[in-house]
């Protein structure tokens, strides 16, 4: 076990533990804080993969902007420990928990049957530069320039579609939240 493994286990336990604590904490504010912890753990895992750009985007967008908005809304509405309706539906949450545990068991069984936890190299085919960008002249790299170049050339259509979807969602939210008054004749 070297330093990298140690860091991997530390940050992955941070991500998984934060996620678990988020689910089980009663009050929404600590839940949001544990979610931030989990997101930071995932970002650190990206750093270990040397994908600095992805890691920073993870923190910038999710931990830095989305979660601030979450906290703002939670604090503005002043949601208490049993504010949400979801906590009252016992059967549904029990069902969701059972499905989650089942999925984890299936995953564990799969790993232990396939390769054990050592994750030997034949568990998955090795991903290298060729397999990632098969048939294109983009070189595999985690630099920002390549991200931008790829997004605006090869993946231009998905980018536009995603942008259009987000725009549609935004317009939908505005229409739903704004009460349009119908003028009476």
């Amino acid at each position: 076990m070297n330093l990298l493994d140690l860091l991997f286990f530390f940050f992955s336990s941070l991500a998984a533990g934060g996620g678990l604590l988020m689910v089980v904490s009663k009050h929404p504010v600590p839940a949001a804080l544990f979610m931030i912890l989990s997101l930071v753990g995932v970002a650190s895992l990206f750093v270990l993969l040397e994908a600095f750009f992805l890691a920073i985007l993870q923190i910038l967008v999710y931990a830095g902007a989305v979660m601030v908005l979450f906290l703002f809304i939670i604090m503005l509405l002043d949601v208490g420990p049993d504010g949400g309706k979801a906590s009252k539906i016992r059967i549904l949450s029990g069902f969701a928990g059972a499905v989650a545990v089942g999925l984890i068991i299936v995953l564990l069984l799969h790993f232990s049957q396939q390769s054990g936890f050592g994750l030997s190299s034949n568990a998955w085919p090795e991903i290298n530069a060729d397999s990632f960008v098969n048939g294109s002249n983009l070189t595999f790299s985690t630099s920002v320039k390549n991200f931008g170049y790829g997004l605006f050339t090869k993946y231009m259509l998905p980018l536009q579609v995603a942008g259009f979807l987000l725009l549609a969602a935004m317009v939908g939210v505005i229409i739903l939240s704004k009460k349009f008054r119908i003028k009476k004749p």
Partner: protein
Amino acid sequence: MLNLELLQVLGLKIFFAFLMVSVVMTFAGYSVLAERKVSAWMQGRVGPNRTVLPFVGHIPFVGSFLKGIGIFQPLADGLKFLFKEEIVPGHVNKVYYYMAPLVALVPALTTMTVLPFGEFFHHSGKSTPLILADLEIGILFILAISSLGVYGIVLAGWSSNSKYPFLGGIRSSAQMISYELAMGLSLLPIFLWVSQPGSSIASLSLVEIANSQNASAWLALVQPLSALIFLVALFAETNRLPFDMPESETDLVGGFHTEYGSFKFGIFFVAEYAHIVIGSAIFTLIFLGGWHFLPWINDPWPSNWVGTLLGTGWFLIKTISLIFFFIWIRWTLPRFRYDQVMNLGWTKLLPLSLANLIFYVILVTWLDLSAATP
């Protein structure tokens, strides 16, 4: 296994990081003194001029001069924070109450890892930047980590469990979201301009952007509107007057730190000033040429250790002038109302920065096209 070479590198890095933290903290401490002295000067007062160390004050001339400019005041302030009685109100949420000041301080100190402050010249004449970690995405790193600082304020407001801190926390989160957008959008045209077709720069590194202003125009002169928007957003992000909504002592008592006393309040205080120091340094790097001399003039210093010292000194002079500007604004302008802050952010700064971005996109494209077809 950890080998010896790795340990050596690690030890050196930790030593440098420790050095950098102590320098920035010293700057933060002395900008508190600067704040008090400058405000006193602007209001026709004297400011702190009594604190003195034993024996040092008796040195003829030098001692009384140091006493007069209050050079020992930050030391006394720090000690006072440490030795005050620590009062924890009974109604607070203990864990988060103690966590909040640390959450406020850590991001403020983390951003300095990607902050270059000079360049070191090798014998061959090549230069390497003086920086802890030269990330390719330096500016994104700073934007991301400094935006985490708001959690300290929000957490303090929430865990204090009383009305005024709560309002301060809510205001802080709303303000942070509103001004972060304008800040990011004001930086985009800068990087678009610097890495336009034909230039050798293609990264978001702060080193490269500072070097691109060597012997050419400062970016504040090229894009004054971007600089203005960035500066306004910087004031809002550092919670400085006229944007100190989370604190605003006239209507929220003390805002988010109403329930905090002794050293915990001191940590909030230092975090705010560390944000100002680092914000000033970032503005200097991006818009005022970093450690390079005046615009359009080559660095007049030689390419050896003298040049390193002079360049770093020049960078510090620029940064300190900007800190002075922060203080100057604070003691000149009155505080905005909360709705005015929100209005300025969403209806003025955001459209303005979008228009600015679109203008420079068109300009860069036009320049590229006109260069392609002579």
